[in-house]
């Protein structure tokens, strides 16, 4: 991400996702900055902080201060505090057999960002993915509130299957993903076929390959996207099956337009993910 203002927005959206995934409402945030004063213009930092502040304002969050240090490379993140009723905290591993799994943003940001780095992405797709990463998971979180959601997490660096694995391992359950229903960013499959795949995707796959079984019929590019590390990805929601369609409707209505039912939670095979 070359534009400092968008970089700030994306970092802020990303930082907020944890609170949204827990069913919380974020209230305050603190900036955390590492900045290479000697090699970078301070105006860049100003734009980053503006981006972060604007995104927090959009989320109804007050930025109460922060910490900055001189660093060899640029780092920006935020520490976010939110509120949630103790009985309503959504956890990662409290899913139930039979639940439907809903993903609220399309995947493939790692692959697209690799293509952008390589100068091979079109301006249209660059803009699309920038806005996607900067989009808050707020509307998704608000849509969840009215439904029997059992578990939720936000999809980031471990990729879709990495985060799904965190949910099922330890819960004593398994999951089944329907690869044909996955929301995937346009061109991500094409760039994956060209080998524009971030190193992290291979690491994610290696780490989880023992618990993941992918049917041979699944497209090679789709296999890559499943492990592609996401920046500020969507929420992965495990909802009671008979409410899945109603939740999906609310997600679409509130603006999480790419949300899709991507699979279900199963009791067998235990701690395994099957992709069909």
């Amino acid at each position: 991400m070359d534009d400092p203002y968008w970089f700030g927005q994306i970092a802020a959206a990303n930082a907020l996702s944890d609170v949204y995934a827990m069913g919380g409402v974020p209230k305050t945030a603190m900036n955390l900055v590492g900045f290479p004063l000697k090699h970078m213009d301070l105006a860049i930092l100003r734009r980053i902080l503006e981006g972060g502040l604007d995104k927090m304002t959009e989320a109804g969050v007050v930025v109460v201060g922060g910490h900055s240090v001189e660093d060899n490379e640029l780092k920006y993140g935020l520490s976010v505090t939110g509120f949630v009723h103790p009985d309503k905290v959504l956890r990662k591993r409290s899913l139930k057999a039979g639940d439907r799994l809903i993903l609220t943003k399309p995947i493939g940001t790692g692959i697209i960002n690799t293509a952008i780095k390589g100068g091979l992405a079109t301006p249209e797709i660059t803009q699309f993915v920038t806005r996607l990463m900067a989009a808050l998971n707020r509307s998704a979180a608000e849509a969840m509130a009215g439904h029997p959601v059992h578990a939720c997490t936000d999809v980031t660096g471990f990729g879709l299957l990495g985060h799904l694995a965190e949910m099922v391992v330890g819960a004593g359950l398994g999951a089944e993903i329907d690869s044909t229903s996955l929301p995937i960013i346009p061109h991500a499959l094409e760039y994956a076929a060209m080998g524009l795949i971030p190193g992290g995707a291979y690491k994610n796959r290696e780490f989880r390959e023992t618990i993941v079984a992918i049917e041979p019929s699944v497209d090679r590019g789709v296999r890559d996207v499943l492990f592609d590390p996401q920046t500020s990805g969507g929420l992965l929601i495990s909802v009671q099956a008979d409410h899945a369609d109603a939740l999906l409707y609310d997600l679409h209505r509130k603006g999480a337009a790419d949300s899709a039912i991507i699979g279900r939670v199963v009791s067998e095979p235990f701690e395994q993910i099957r992709v069909i």
Partner: protein, 197 residues
Amino acid sequence: MQKIDARGLACPAPVLQTKAAIDEGADLLAVLVDNKASKENVCRFLETQGFETIVESWETDFHVHATRAGVVPRSAAESLSPESDGSKIMVMITTDRMGFGDDALGMKLMTNFIKTLKEMGASLWRLVFVNNGVKLAAEGAAVLEDLKTYEADGLKILVCGTCLDHFNLLDQKRVGETTNMLDIVTAMQLADKVINI
């Protein structure tokens, strides 16, 4: 043959360097990378561009050899021998003794076989050792010197890493490159003839 050393570079730099070489019209490429992700990415890119690839593992590095489909590669071995018709023969040796019956005889025959292989001339393109065959490439094997001569003359000798590991011979290998099943399968696909012993 265009060589690209993309070691120490993160994705997508190795792919971009490969792309630049192809854009300049390269038909034969050797790309050197130092991690699996780059190896996979470079192979995929080359395949989408209509290249055939072979990967050799070399300690922590990977050599990706690529040929544009339809271009006949002229390797060192092939160009050395005038009688070569350009065909590529892969000999896969799955045992340290030839045939069944008498083991002592089988081992003698195998030694003789390997010594005689040179009569294939430059058509002999790959010599692959798997299962019990890897013992022929390990310390103490009767044919080690012959194999070393072949290798010095440009023959590519591949030795199955899983098999070496199985027999606890990983540090006893004295000739050839440690290989994996993907490389073996790719070599089979590229060879004109595969002879299985």
